[in-house]
Amino acid sequence: MSLREPAGVIEHRLLGHGLTSSIIFWLALVDRLTVNLALVPTLTATRAGRDAWLAFLASIPAALAVGWIMAYVTRAAPGEGLARQAQRALGPIGGTLVALAFTWSYLHLTFLMVREYAEVIVTVGLPNTPLVVIVSTVVLVAYVMALQDTPAMARTVLILGPIVILAVVSVLASVAPQADLAILRPVLGGGWSPLASGVLSASIWHSVVYFYPAVSPSIVDHARATRALLGGLICATLLSAALSAEAVAVLGPLGAVRHQFPLYQMARLVMVGELVQRLDLLALAAWGLGLLVGASLHLHAAALCLADLVDLRDHRLLVKSLALLVAVGAMLVGHNVMELREFTDVRTLLPYVALHLWVPTATWALGTRARLKQSSTGRAHDPGEAR
């Protein structure tokens, strides 16, 4: 790259070859929101009842903490993949264990997302199509996306992300006239305990942004990317709060808990004049597009992480095997949708996520901090450095 080139050109050349802050923002927003669309409002409403929206708002500090920790461990070694970063912080064995935990978590979340979506599609759209066909179709698309290099794959979110958000906002806006806000009162009517449980339920799923360390070698500007990551998480949480509030206000506290996919149920009720009615397709499209982005992102992250671990230059060699694993895993992850729900309940999921994600991440962060401290102390004692 020539130094004589104007700043705009240099910036644009980088845009074409890396993950910009706008891509990171949309990835975090869509990935987080898609999980919320599928699972969280119902789960949160189960815990917090009519205060589910408040639980989401109260989970924002947790979202910021999770996002900041992910960015912190990544910024310590910005050009390296997840496994290398973890090994540098925790040594070969500790780092490998962290990398393996992350890889498994990427894959497991993809099992859940794909299976949940397939169950809904079978229920509402394709009742005669075998589940395995739907799972295979979704995994096939995610596989093709994950085969691309990281910037190309991530750029799809710049096209699909706004469509997802537009669809969600359209449904929320269209169904708003039917909302009875009085149902949301009294605030904190059940006391603090249900709210705390709801906050925990909402906070667990902030961990989906753990894709960030895996794609960090492609990030153009880490400082701006961190802000974008946090911004994406906050926007997703705010949208989820609005979704929860509207789900309770439209479907009632019991309806919000009972319905498997509240956005879809609300879209069925849309009736704006004679023209706009029943936006079921729009709700499904929003979720489906977001899910495909999320599933491919996690599959891609798993391939990157594993490739980094086994020192494989081309992650694409692993994508096919991992996609096959995802298809099989999605079929085996539960017998039916109720089993999936049981797994995603906070009582089951909390120890699981803590073991697979929070403990490894916390250890990694502490290791990174110790390493950074050690290196800064070493520099201070180095007479050459001091001069």
Partner: protein, 509 residues
């Protein structure tokens, strides 16, 4: 005694009426070695003229099918004969009156120059000179038939390279315009011109296109499509990665934005790169008409492109799998119209689409006088007959007709072709998996487009990667006085198009 010898050394009489080639001469003359070798290299063709200008030379060689015979007579032969008659010691290139006289280093080059229509002068001492006398039969400058408009220049490129270059130069009078010539095709020796603005184009893009042009290894290049397939990034993609145009104004506009153009001898289609997808849906007229109107029309074209891709698939998916989303009165109407139709919507759609495509193709291949008539009559008759025979429903006829009309709004034929092909994928996916299928194909398409590049520039720029400042170059056109920059996604060396706004307040006071 001067004589004109045809292939094999036999005298040939010129038919140009100038009289210069009609002097009778001896039946046989010994040719110098160089002339003889040139003649043999060409296989003694009947259109090769070998004109000795004295008993011992010099010699003038040209192909009368390719050269301007009158120019050869007036500017080459006559001055040389005059000089020879004056008894000058040296009768050579100094006496010639054509603009370009260049030395030729070997006989192989001389043969190539002859095949380009130039004249070769062989001096007595064996020195070779090439004299620019090429003149190829060609058509006049006409309006491009594939890129018509209401408020657009009426000039289009022709098959003659010099005419195309002249049309560009006439619009771009700047010393920064560079024209690099290459020969492509080991047998056709087709001239290929790479045009760019030296002070604007990105050096990396320029180097890439040069490398790709130099890599062309083929015996014949007959159209710019040959070159296109060699230089594009993804040859198996249905989407064109260079812009084809017959319009010199479009080429100049793109050169000014920092792109390159490739002109190929023998075809009126110039290639422009790097390009992005939204650019494929822009027309030249967008830049000449009023900004608000053209911006609206652009949006209409974008919507029409999406409709032409997805409408049959969406109809099939909704009617087959998700009828609940259709408003009840419309659902009853569609169900009533489909009563008695033996095929599922997918088969119906495929049948109608295939029929439409075949009619369109037939309309293109038939003679121009009957093509459109056959297409219209065929569509009307077949559509009506299929509807009356209960093979297709009227709703499907409307859907296919709307799709066809939407696909005609694409200004570029190659992008409309891509939409035609991909439409079948959407329709089949919608018919097999409903909304899920549409989504899957849609996402795969977006993935493909995001991965696609044109000379290193992401194909979906400036949407992905996102650069809102460049949206004005594709999404909606601002007035010219507000257009101060070039599109950064083309990576121009000089980003600024104008130092400041040319529009000032004041005016009539």
């Amino acid at each position: 005694m001067a004589a004109r010898l045809g292939a094999g050394g036999h005298p040939v009489h010129a038919r140009n009426g100038s009289g210069l080639f009609e002097k009778p001469g001896p039946a046989t003359l010994s040719l110098p070695d160089a002339v003889d070798r040139i003649r043999q290299a060409l296989g003694s063709p009947p259109d090769l003229v070998i004109r000795p200008l004295g008993p011992e030379g010099p010699w003038v060689l040209f192909l009368h099918s390719l050269a301007d015979v009158r120019l050869v007579a007036d500017a080459v032969v006559r001055p040389l004969l005059t000089a020879s008659g004056d008894g000058r010691a040296s009768v050579g290139p100094d006496s010639i009156e054509v603009p370009n006289v260049d030395p030729v280093k070997d006989e192989q080059t001389a043969v190539r120059q002859l095949l380009d229509g130039h004249t070769i002068l062989v001096e007595r001492d064996g020195a070779l000179w090439t004299l620019t006398t090429a003149k190829r039969p060609g058509r006049a400058v006409e309006e491009p038939s594939n890129e018509t408009g209401i408020r657009v220049p009426r000039e289009g490129f022709t098959e003659e390279l010099e005419v195309s270059i002249a049309l560009i130069r006439a619009r771009l009078r700047h010393p920064g315009l560079r024209l690099e010539e290459r020969r492509c095709g080991t047998r056709t020796g087709t001239r290929v011109i790479l045009a760019y603005m030296e002070d604007i184009i990105d050096p990396e893009i320029l180097s890439t296109v040069r490398q790709r042009l130099d890599r062309i290894q083929l015996d014949g290049v007959l159209e710019s499509g040959y070159v296109e397939e060699f230089i594009e990034d993804a040859p198996f993609s249905p989407f064109p990665q260079v812009l084809r145009t017959e319009r010199p104004d479009v080429v100049v506009a793109n050169l000014l934005e920092g792109r390159f153009a490739i002109l190929v001898d023998g075809t009126p289609f110039a290639l422009i790169g790097p390009v992005v997808l939204p650019q494929m849906l822009l027309s030249a007229e967008d830049y000449y008409e009023r900004t608000v109107l053209t911006s609206w029309v652009r949006w209409l074209r974008f919507a029409a492109f999406v409709i032409s891709l997805t409408l049959p698939g969406l109809y099939v998916a909704v009617t087959s799998f998700h009828p609940e989303v259709i408003p009840t009165p419309l659902l009853f109407s569609i169900a009533g119209a489909r009563e008695g139709i033996p095929f599922p919507p997918l088969v119906e759609a495929i049948l109608m689409e295939l029929q439409f495509e075949m009619l369109r193709e037939a309309g293109l291949r038939l003679p121009r006088t009957v093509g459109p008539a056959i297409s219209i009559v065929g569509a009307l008759v077949l559509g009506e007959a299929a509807f009356r025979a209960n093979i297709v429903s009227p709703a499907m006829v409307i859907v296919v007709a709307m799709t066809g009309i939407a696909s005609f709004t694409a200004p570029l034929f190659s992008i409309a072709m891509a939409a035609r092909l991909l439409r079948f994928a959407f329709t089949i996916a919608g018919g097999v998996f409903g909304l899920l299928g549409l989504q899957a194909v849609g996402v795969l398409l977006v993935v493909h487009l995001c991965a696609l590049r044109s000379f290193g520039v992401p194909y979906l720029s400036p949407m992905a990667p996102l650069r809102v400042r460049d949206w004005s170059h594709v999404v909606a056109r601002p007035p010219w006085w507000a257009t101060r920059t070039r599109p950064a996604f083309v990576l121009p060396k000089d980003l600024m198009r104008a130092p400041s706004s040319g529009r000032r307040g004041g005016g009539h006071r």
